[in-house]
């Protein structure tokens, strides 16, 4: 099954990326050369990377705070977890349209700002970098919160008590005990957010303005409009390489511990 549904499609994509047209066509490296020698695509990749880092950072901060609050301060965790995953019950596109209504001029966000006096006149944040960033954060926040929560609940509370007994304050305890002990969950969450964000195209397409071109949008366009599948495949291979790189980094810095630890206990 792994071979049929994962490996073969990936190999086909790699194979296609080395052609100068749809097979049967001659083999070429031109698609990759085009990517690496055209600063246009490198700029798009860079922009995508920046947005991915921003989104991931925002999700980690918000998601970890949320998970920490649920794990430490709430007794109704089941209900809260249900609320966290509630957005997944709604179609992704529908959620995007909901955001459009919120972000648009005279939308819900404008109304709240006017009511609270934060703004004097409606402006809306649609078609801006902020809209895309918030949209991506909204979409991936639940996905990251769950591994954060799992790692926090698996942590031994006695370690926190021990740190306090030894004189550590709340902030020092958090950074020297809680965060390191939940590192695997954090890295897992980062992977779950960074990978799909890097390939995102629906959110920036619907919420973004004239400056929000991401690599996923370029790839999508190659397959559905330009019909240059080999070049789209080459771009996809590069995105996939980024994903593999992320996984390798995650394994190196700790997510591999989880695998190792589980293997040890079996």
């Amino acid at each position: 099954m792994l071979l049929l549904f994962f490996i073969l499609p990936l190999l086909y994509m790699v194979w296609l990326s080395f052609h100068d047209g749809m097979p049967p066509a001659s083999l070429t490296l031109e698609n990759y050369l085009n990517v690496v020698t055209t600063d246009l695509y490198l700029r798009v990749v860079w922009r995508t990377t920046v947005l991915t880092v921003q989104t991931t950072a925002l999700v980690v901060v918000l998601g970890y705070t949320l998970a920490y609050s649920m794990a430490r301060f709430s007794k109704r965790t089941t209900l809260l977890l249900l609320l966290v995953i509630l957005p997944f019950w709604t179609n992704y596109i529908v959620r995007m349209y909901a955001l459009i209504n919120i972000f648009s001029r005279d939308g819900l966000l404008d109304w709240m700002q006017l009511v609270t006096g934060l703004a004097q006149e409606p402006s809306g944040i649609m078609y801006t970098h902020t809209a895309v960033l918030l949209g991506l954060t909204y979409v991936w926040l639940p996905l990251a919160t769950l591994p954060f929560y799992a790692s926090l609940t698996n942590m031994d509370d006695n370690l926190i008590e021990a740190a306090k007994d030894l004189g550590a304050g709340p902030i020092e305890t958090f950074f020297t005990v809680t965060l390191p002990m939940t590192k695997n969950g954090v890295i897992g969450g980062i992977i779950l957010v960074a990978i799909p964000t890097f390939g995102a195209f629906v959110t920036p397409t619907l919420l973004g303005g004239t400056d929000q071109l991401m690599i996923g949008m370029v790839i999508e366009n190659q397959f559905t409009e330009a019909f240059n599948w080999p070049f789209g495949s080459a771009l996809s291979v590069i995105v996939s390489a980024f994903v593999v790189l992320m996984l390798l980094i995650a394994v190196k810095f700790g997510a591999g511990d989880v695998v190792t630890r589980r293997s040890d206990t079996q």
């Binding site: 179609n91 619907l206 973004g208 999508e220 366009n221 559905t224």
Partner: protein, 380 residues
Amino acid sequence: MAYDGNHASRRSVLGAAGGVGAAALAGCLGGGDDIEHVRPIEIESFPVEEYESEVNVWNWYTDWVDWHTDEFQESYEGIDRVYSQAYSGPSEWYSRLEAGNDEIDNICATNEWVVRAMDNDYLEPLPVEQMEAWDVLDPLAREDAEEYYSRDGEVYAIPESIVMQPSLTYNTEYFNSPPDSWGVLWDEDLAGMMFMEDWPEVSCRIAALYTGQDPNDPDDFEEIEEVLMQQRDLNVTYWNEFSSAMEMFIDEEVVVGPLRDGRTWMAQFLNDAPIDYAVPEEGMMYTYDNFVIPTGAPNPRASAAWIEHGGQISSRVQLFAEMGYVPPIENLEDELTQVVSEEEAAFADWLDPDELIFVEPLDEETLDRYDEIWTTVVAG
């Protein structure tokens, strides 16, 4: 609604979500009738006398499909089920044809996708000589179909609607008179009050017209890129989704930009928005949405019957009444006033051949260049 292209509309997405199950079911159940399977081209006369009991239709004119389904089933007794799917982008149905179609009977396919599908043998030729849906077409539409949608003397598509691709839509309260040129999109006084369409084939073609070139076969791509770069910062956004673009006009977030005539009509007559379309001196580009039958259609007779019934004048004018898209028929205004007001019918009065430029399917090189240019422009 030519080319709701790669762009999901609110209605179509919701429709698609609801229709996908039914369509899948149709794929499983389709073609189970106990009648001889024929190719559409082999049907000798209309109305079809013997047909399957169901048909699976992919058409993004959702309001019209709802209306037509009832009429169709009333006229063709024994059609028990009409499965309709409102796809959000042509690549959805095209990928199914590539995979080997055995579920879709009928598609409303836009211009370049018809040619693409035809060139890859994904479409069935149609018995147009027998069909009234063909006879009622305006000569312009018939000639275009014969030139672009036929191979070896066989026609593969019958135009369902003729569509501005795009319309030059503007706010009638902001402008004292209609803009007379695509150059209005380069007017710096309108910075922050316009948008462009996020589709290379449309935006690059507009730029080609603006620079005095043939939009179907430009000779100076660098100039096209240059003017699009100049125009870039004047835009609020590059829109990618039709209903949002229409609402930006309704909300007066923009006062001018490329849209479609149907969307302009909806905003004007269904939402009372102060907008209209202008006819630029460089010319108005147009295309067609077309009835086609894909190869492998499990219910070819019912599908041909759907086209024949939907292609009657009474059905075609209803498309305008429901959604504002113009049927490519003769005596258009007279026919439209049977179902809409004279004011609404006058909206469709843009078919002056002297001002029309057909959006021809692009050759591979031009398509690639347009795509490169647009990627460069959008990447800034």
